[in-house]
Subunit: 544 residues, 2 copies
């Protein structure tokens, strides 16, 4: 009772402040409407006629902000009735970020390659709040960027100009977990690593795992259809995500949050939002099938002399380790050297010689003896047939973790080494490494070309490392890398998405008719184009 009283008093006092504030803002309010509209128009037209342009005029944005805050905080007057989902008591100033330092982080991507100039980040605490924000922004044609952990690599999660950032990090509740079915339901802002820890206590695991797990959010994972290290075993999120709650651009909440393994009642529309990088709607809740945690894990770190051996090894592993194989990763000598040079904590478990390729194999099963026997048998065969030149099996958790550190440390080592051009490609396994070799020839000694990735899934991470960014190097890489991949019927983005980096390059991997159909979807679901603009779909298609 006392608590309620306190809340009521706080609310009354907030209303009072706002009433006073209204007196000052009522004149400006009318002006804002014009400015806001201008802002919206400017925003939408900027890429069509003049290409990308940073319009740093903050006046309209500030106007929007004043009005937004006014609407948010004005509790007892008419306006709040139009924002029923936003409780001014909870959606207070703490969820409206204007602090420059915080905004700088939110405006900048992980690679420091893309930088927006947003002046406003909102942190909704629930679906209703997020819905009201979108409804409002949509009615004013105000562009927004959905943001999770901001760990993306293609500029998809930061503003291009001064779009409003909607970060889901305060929506981080686990809603339910069913230990019979293994179905986890949680809010979009849950950090992947927290979900992994939660499930570990229940005897389950997440069906996806990736290097960014400490920061990335499950909503972002699903929005970008994150792949990662366990895809070879548990498949893509299109298979494991059972349900979603999504807010459309107009604020409509679409409840597709089923928890059933099988449900064939109509079109399975959740798939539209898996991998569409927040451009069709913002994911607010996720229901996902989690596999039981199996007790026996084996990790082997192997050396191969040539790529053909790696290729034969993955074929053998799928057959002989079939049901227990949970990761098959590879890196070349250049990647290994980078990690050894830049990460102090890492050492090569096979230091006796210099090998051209290294492979990390992980198995996960229910029976330690059986699994060990299988893995050892596989390795003996691989050594005898000459596919593997040397190898080590992790004897304890520390060693297992140190093997993984090599593979997972590559992106960090590349960052430390200087400028890096990153390409995430799907290419038929037998052709995959040809690209790395061709790229080395093209670049001569001008840069260090590094190949690693998820060999088991045909996914190459091609990275070009140079002391600093250099247009001459870029011109050697692009469009060559995309053209080469396209010729092999590969994908120019296996798991990172298109974001801003590759939106205009979509035709390298998709047919014209398919891209046009995508554009129709976008126009239908987001007619004002407010959701993550300039990303995923070529702008020319959306403005026609």
């Amino acid at each position: 009772m006392e608590k309620r009283m306190a809340a009521a008093t706080a609310s009354a006092s907030a209303s009072y402040r706002l009433l006073n504030q209204k007196k000052h803002t009522s004149k400006r309010f009318l002006d804002h409407r014009r400015l806001v509209t201008n802002f919206g128009e400017l925003h939408r037209s900027s890429s069509s006629s003049r290409g990308f342009m940073h319009h740093c005029g903050t006046a309209p944005l500030q106007s929007f902000l004043s009005r937004f805050l006014w609407a948010l905080q004005k509790s007892s007057l008419n306006h709040i009735q139009n924002l029923p989902g936003i409780q001014h008591r909870t959606f207070g100033l703490k969820n409206v970020i204007q602090d420059e330092e915080e905004l700088q982080t939110a405006n900048t991507d992980w690679m420091h390659k893309y930088k927006g100039s947003s002046k406003l980040m909102l942190l909704p605490e629930n679906t209703d709040q997020l819905s009201q924000i979108l409804k409002y922004c949509n009615s004013r044609c105000l562009a927004v960027v959905p943001q999770g952990g901001n760990t993306g690599l293609v500029g998809g999660s930061v503003p291009v100009f001064d779009e409003v950032i909607i970060n889901t990090r305060r929506m981080n509740n686990i809603i339910s977990f069913d230990e019979v079915s293994g179905v986890l339901v949680c809010e979009a802002g849950c950090i992947l690593e927290n979900l992994i820890s939660f499930l570990d206590k229940q005897g389950f695991i997440m069906p996806l795992d990736l290097g960014a797990k400490g920061s990335c959010q499950i909503g972002g994972n699903v929005s970008t259809n994150a792949g990662g290290l366990r895809l070879i075993r548990y498949g893509s999120l299109h298979g494991t995500v059972l349900g979603l709650e999504v807010v459309l651009a107009n604020g409509n909440v679409i409840d597709m949050l089923g928890t059933l393994r099988k449900d064939n009642t109509g079109y399975d529309l959740k798939h539209l939002f898996i991998g569409s990088e927040g451009s069709l709607g913002i994911i607010t809740k996720v229901s996902i099938l989690t596999p039981p945690k199996l007790s026996s894990v084996n990790i082997a770190f192997l050396a191969c002399q040539d790529y053909i051996s790696c290729q034969k090894l993955v074929f053998q592993a799928k057959r002989k380790l079939g049901e227990i194989l949970s990761a098959f990763e590879f890196l070349d000598a250049q990647a290994m050297n980078l990690v050894l040079d830049h990460l102090d904590s890492v050492r090569n478990p096979l230091p006796s010689s210099i090998y051209n390729f290294y492979v990390l194999i992980e198995t996960t099963g229910s029976n330690e003896c059986n699994d060990k026997e299988k893995v050892e048998g596989f390795l003996v065969d691989a050594m005898e047939s000459g596919l593997v030149s040397d190898g080590a099996i992790a004897q304890d958790l520390n060693q297992a973790s140190s093997f993984w550190q090599i593979r997972e440390g590559i992106p960090e080592a590349l960052q430390k080494a200087g400028a890096v051009y990153k390409y995430d490609l799907s290419i038929p396994v037998e052709k995959m490494y040809d690209l790395v070799e061709e790229m080395r020839i093209r670049l001569g000694g001008k840069a260090n070309v590094v190949g690693y990735g998820h060999l088991g899934d045909g996914n190459l991470h091609l990275n070009v490392s140079a002391p600093q960014y250099d247009d001459a190097i870029l011109a050697e890489i692009e469009p060559f890398v995309y053209e080469w991949t396209s010729k092999q019927h590969g994908s120019i983005s296996a798991e990172h998405g298109l974001g801003l980096m590759k939106a205009e390059k979509i035709y390298y991997s998709k047919s014209t008719a398919t891209v046009e159909l995508m554009a129709s979807m976008k126009k239908m679901l987001d007619p004002n184009g407010i959701l993550n603009p300039y990303k995923v779909i070529p702008q020319s298609l959306l403005l026609s």
Copy 2:
């Protein structure tokens, strides 16, 4: 050379016939246009104002047919230029089915519950032909029914009135198979069992298997997102289908036939067509990831005294057999008795006592000794803890096949037993059998209530068997069965789809906003509503 000559002669003679025919039909042709338009309008309005109505007037259809054949066969005149994909030499009369007997089969569903009155079935031999047919039908607002093996159970693959049937059975080529990646690319009309046999020779398996495999086509499987017996291991088709080629209502061919495990370049639109039952487009080609065939298969047939034991057993199996579990099916005593009564070839492998429930467990792995040890260990534990009362492990292929015959024979036994009301439901495992028991109480002795299905996936097949169809029995079952399932947040169609049977019942499992979004998709992709009308989506939404 001789062959070519013969074809040219045949073609010339066909042209001649048609030229003559044209003389007779030219006057009628003008009339047809009006009639065809009327037919289209009639078709589209029939369910809106007066509910379903069989309009058996064949005049407009015959008009269409004459014109269609005329267009198809008229080789040297202007019209054929508008149908460039249809080669009159191949798309001859053999692919235009007007034979009454054949049409009767195509008009009638497997259960003899739904019957259309189509007078025309077309059998395109390739995507171009199918595209031209749709383009033509769309331009005239002529409704079509895509049909594969016609093994569906919800009236989705037969006409409601006299829609043109487009059967894909002549598009049955395997296009490619890559034994490194395990990716199979084939045409939509390939029969599932043929694909299974083909892959078997390559050392691979299909990730789906179902009772209808001898007749069903892969295009139909994908269109209906077929589940079946291996879903517990390999997941749904949303996970295993890598690419599709689809023809839209307007004849546009959408090439999404990727063969990559990972491809995040834009919206993954193929998922729209998986499970949309041919109402958004017709699938013409499929690319699918096939798992390697593993050498060790174990099949156990077990008896449990109560449902709670079955439930505990599935939980244990997922944990202890985890990585090798490939099926977990159950049936109740009523299902067993039906099979024993109606199928001569089946016998109960556990005849010593009468048990309430039977469970079939299949494991598939790479190491015979290990797997046997695991399965035996699991069964010993299950027996000791009292979950299992009796059990048998198949000692050879014959015995394995005889165990599967019990489970797979249930639908046939039900057909032989008389009239059957079939319900395919997803319900949380712990509640699943409550529905069977409640239904028995409701129906008293009036009908035999049978429960079986894919326990591992939470999928119950509830069947009510009666001597003949009886409205009083139906009134006891529906809407109760849907309301009950909806209350448990279950799905009223786990794997069979909605078809005609459950289109209007979609709201039991989907929110209003979701269904409205589905309707928007349908209107966008098929604005004339020609594709599989009256199915999947409530008609009222499409006419608004």
